[in-house]
Symmetry: C2
Subunit: 566 residues, 2 copies
């Protein structure tokens, strides 16, 4: 972690985050060193350890059951009876298993539920992170080389055996687990870091390298992986590229479409796409690799990537504000962009409801004493501590002086910095703490971004489904937060229990609302299974047709991650 | 132009660029206000106005004749007799002209050399910027709407009439002009800026908008177009996207693959690809638009783009150094990256030969008194003048104190800043000033980047073709310069006259050398006609096959920019 420097309070009302501002319970309970970035492991243990109140009365699907053991998750096939297994696909046989075993050459590399009973071992590969989707695959393959991947894909393509590529299985749209009996091809054994050039900042690594490991590797040389997200301890860089993950650093370092310089991938027919370029510039033909970035495993398996890492900033500062209106949030954002300019590395927005829910779920004391309708978290990262502090102080003086922000604190040390971040990063966990949550990850033009949350709230007030205190109402609260800097809103409807009426009030209303503003129904999480049938809200008929055409070009038999995407 | 702030000399040897450091003759001769960024217009006038010495003895092709009038340029078809006109293509008739005239609805929108004599009017559209390639098209179409483009393409596709998309015609690889009688579809009348959002920095504009106009437009709102290059007064943003142009800001703002958020394009069958997304994040399917970025007009016509513009920096500083070795250049680059970090906006390298040639061609006095084997130009751009000056001074003290750089100057005002930039940007012009030039735009891993120039020089010394003073030798000098920050070398062989022996000494040797280092034979200029037959030096057989497959998907009749690209 970069050292954090002290910034003197800019104006009278601005305080340094102090010791009375506590770390939330669920963060403290993790065994690992305190971190706001919960790993899959940590979060999983926690949800298993702390059964929550309701959700037992759930009797319809799909379901998000963070507090249920895997065996209680409904099969996706049952939850979505309208999806049928593609009858062209062959059922897997002992002969197929023999072929795979021969290719993989090691017993560790295959979980065989066809010729043996492997139910328990398979479960973790069949169930997704949200405990919302559950497949019925009987074979997990874990190749450790591109050649193995190529042989497996070619065989599956020739034999019409469907494949579900799987990285860290932290995806949030049901793309990482099978629907029926698709073979899981898991990349976890392909986890070598091949090279890092500490002049150019270019990293070459296997797709199965854990994001945290990649970031740690380059951190030693003073660089930073250009992507960061809550699942970094479990997700893989190949999975990140396959989902075109956005995360916390996009505002500063841009998207993976710009940062990924090359990749190696395998097409269904076994062709190895050898485009592992380690150059910043290479204008020699169509930039094919881009189709794999955000392709969600539907045209091939990414086996290696080459990526440009920016320099790590020695000075990192975090401030947390309360604001009186969404207009003020927008003004604060404009001011931050203009005054903090090249050192601004995050601008996150959380509404009052999201912070109250976070407090309610965790017992954590919030950084500010008063309560405000809106909060912002601002992070700066730069090369010179004094310069950054001065810029931040000037900015703080301005926004406090002009009453753009009502109150604020700045982190004085690393642990305060983590705690401020926890107020933002803990919201997602908090929103499903009381039973379940309907999650929408949306891009909306900035001026209208928050209006959706307000209208959604009004909707639930009007239809009588929401009450923060009344336990009989399904909806606890409607909260809005997200990557303001990227116009990316997370609309979360925190529920006490899943209820068809809630879902019906939300869908397709939310998608229609977003489509009317030319927003995106999936800013960063992707389509997967969850949004396959809603893509037309963000893409024209022509675009969908062209996408299907491309899918047909690379995967004519449709074996790659079927039932999902477009 | 942003104001430039004064930086006090850091150490004794570091001087402020002073008035004895003059602007070069060919820059002063331009009619427009002094600028290092020569426009097409300015350069064209100049080359016409100043006939140079040799190049008249040229009797082989291809030729680069900066000082000859258009009519003296050989037809590409004659220069490359191995390229044959595709006999499937129909010859254009009066009936076709009638169709185009009806679609376009205006006489200004068509140059008709089929039913009339339009030789002179057509010439500018048939000849490229380098005066190296010359086509024989008889019709230029200038649609002013996407609908018109769609109707034209569909008609041409149905009737097998080939099309050459053309933007500002500043491309350097012969892609922008026809080889035979391809119809030129010129975008210059589609030049409306549709919107600019000054909170998000997102610009939406027609493909035919001139880069300079786009930059000026966003500059008024405090933003900067994320691309800058010498041809900005003539090239179009659609052409920039079609070539995935790199230029001077890539080091800081990244490539167009990251910055272009959406586009509208027309496929040969008339389909309008409506992907003009104005969101920073939109993970809803394959990112098809990426295929048009760098597609060089071979799968469709880009009609509109949506692009993310960064904030303009109020503080801009430029320093110019002399260094004793390429090792020191690399060290200086590492130091600049680490110390100037987020404010570093350019790191350009020029070898001693390139600066001497620049001096010889222009008579311009160079910024430093002594002469050095290497020079660097460093630019910083930031939001705070004092902070930037301090960072730059600390950096300068360090690199001078450690004797990483031997001598240096910093610009004290806007005109000095322009003059320092001229020492870098004037090299390209200077290198063809004495007759002609063989130009290579290459990506090479940094440690080996300069070795190519040395080996090339040795080659010409050994084969007796080079002498800086002896007028009988074809080669004057071998120079190396380029975007060091992007590992992008421009290897230029300055000649007194074109000579087959020189070309044979260079090709395929240069390409082989680059391929052995896994570099790129085209860093930023693209393939066009010039490098079509060399793509295998940078791309595997598999990649070339996959690219051809894609071309077949979108342009099955091959009417889009034939004879070029892959
Ligand atoms: C706590 C938490 C926080 C998150 N925060 C963010 C965030 O801030 N921003 C954001 O964008 N996302 C976020 N996500 C979701 C994000 O998509 C994933 O965390 C991550 O990018 C997926 O990586 P993975 O290795 O887990 O992939 P998986 O979940 O295993 O797979 C995701 C998809 O990619 C495919 N895939 C995986 N690996 C490959 C491969 N090698 N080749 C081809 N296809 C492959 C799968 O088939 C699937 O369709 C978060 C998730 C969690 C659990
Ligand atoms: C002085 C000078 C300096 C330069 N500096 C740089 C530099 O620093 N970095 C760099 O990368 N390049 C540089 N270039 C080359 C660069 O490629 C072009 O200047 C520019 O990007 C091309 O734009 P244009 O509008 O002139 O396109 P054109 O030259 O007209 O066309 C270029 C290619 O794109 C296609 N095309 C053009 N418009 C469209 C469209 N709307 N739809 C589909 N296809 C289209 C054409 O068919 C052609 O294949 C320089 C050129 C000059 C003359």
């Amino acid at each position: 972690m970069p050292p954090i420097n002290r910034i003197a309070p800019a104006v009278r009302r601005l305080r340094i985050a102090n010791s009375t501002f506590q770390q939330p319970a669920f963060l403290r309970s993790a065994a690992a060193p305190v971190s706001t970035r919960l790993t899959y492991q940590a979060r999983y243990q926690q949800t298993v350890a702390e059964p929550t109140t309701s959700a037992s009365s759930v009797d319809h699907a799909p379901q998000s059951q963070p507090s249920h053991a895997p065996q209680q998750i409904k099969y996706t096939a049952d939850a979505y009876p309208n999806i049928q297994r593609d009858s062209r696909f062959k059922e897997i046989t002992a002969e197929d298993i023999k072929f795979f075993r021969d290719v993989l050459g090691s017993d560790n590399a295959i979980i065989d539920g066809v010729t043996k009973d492997a139910g328990e071992d398979l479960e973790a590969f069949n169930s997704d992170w949200m405990k919302k989707y559950r497949g019925q695959c009987k074979v997990v393959l874990k190749p450790d080389s591109t050649q193995q991947v190529s042989k497996i894909l070619k065989y599956c393509n020739d034999n019409l055996l469907p494949i579900n590529p799987q990285g860290g299985n932290t995806g949030l749209v049901g793309g990482s687990v099978p629907v029926f009996d698709e073979i899981v091809l898991n990349l976890s054994r392909m986890n070598t870091i091949h090279s890092f050039d500490d002049v150019s900042g270019i990293l070459v690594a296997d797709a199965g390298v854990i994001l945290q490991a990649a970031d740690d590797h380059v951190a030693e040389k003073g660089y930073i992986f250009p992507l960061d997200l809550g699942a970094k301890g479990s997700c893989q860089i190949g999975g990140n590229v396959a989902t075109n993950a956005g995360g916390l650093r996009l505002l500063r370092y841009g998207s993976l479409h710009g940062n990924v310089l090359g990749l190696e991938a395998v097409l269904p027919d076994g062709t190895i796409v050898d485009d592992l370029c380690t150059l910043r510039k290479n204008n020699t033909g169509y930039d094919l690799k881009q189709l794999f970035i955000g392709g969600e495993g539907t045209i091939g398996i990414i086996t290696k990537i080459s990526i440009l890492c920016p320099q790590r900033s020695p000075a990192v500062n975090v401030a947390y504000f309360g604001l009186e209106s969404y207009e003020k949030v927008q003004t604060a954002f404009r001011e931050a962009k203009s005054q903090l300019s090249e050192i601004l590395s995050a601008f996150e927005m959380m509404d009052g409801q999201s912070q109250a829910l976070y407090h309610r779920a965790t017992g954590a004391r919030l950084p500010l004493e008063g309560s405000y309708p809106f909060y912002c978290l601002i992070e700066t990262s730069g090369s010179n501590t004094d310069h950054d502090s001065e810029k931040l102080n000037t900015f703080l003086e301005h926004v406090m002086g002009e009453e753009i922000v009502a109150d604020g604190v700045v982190a004085d040390n690393e642990s305060q910095l983590q705690n401020l971040w926890a107020c933002r990063e803990g919201v997602s966990e908090a929103s499903q703490h009381f039973g379940g949550v309907y999650k929408y990850d949306l891009s909306i033009p900035l001026p209208e971004l928050y209006r959706l949350v307000e209208e959604c709230r009004t909707r639930f007030q009007d239809n009588g489904l929401m009450d923060p205190e009344d336990e009989t109402k399904p909806v606890l609260d409607v909260i809005g937060y997200g990557h303001m800097g990227d116009s990316n809103l997370h609309l979360n409807v925190a529920t006490r229990r899943y209820d068809k009426a809630v879902e019906e009030a939300l869908e397709p209303w939310v998608y229609e609302w977003v489509a009317q503003r030319k927003g995106s129904i999936s800013a960063e999480h992707g389509l997967g299974l969850a949004k396959k049938s809603y893509v037309q809200y963000s893409r024209s008929e022509t675009m969908v047709r062209l996408m299907k055409q491309l899918k047909g070009v690379y995967d004519p038999n449709g074996i790659m991650n079927p039932y999902k995407y477009v």
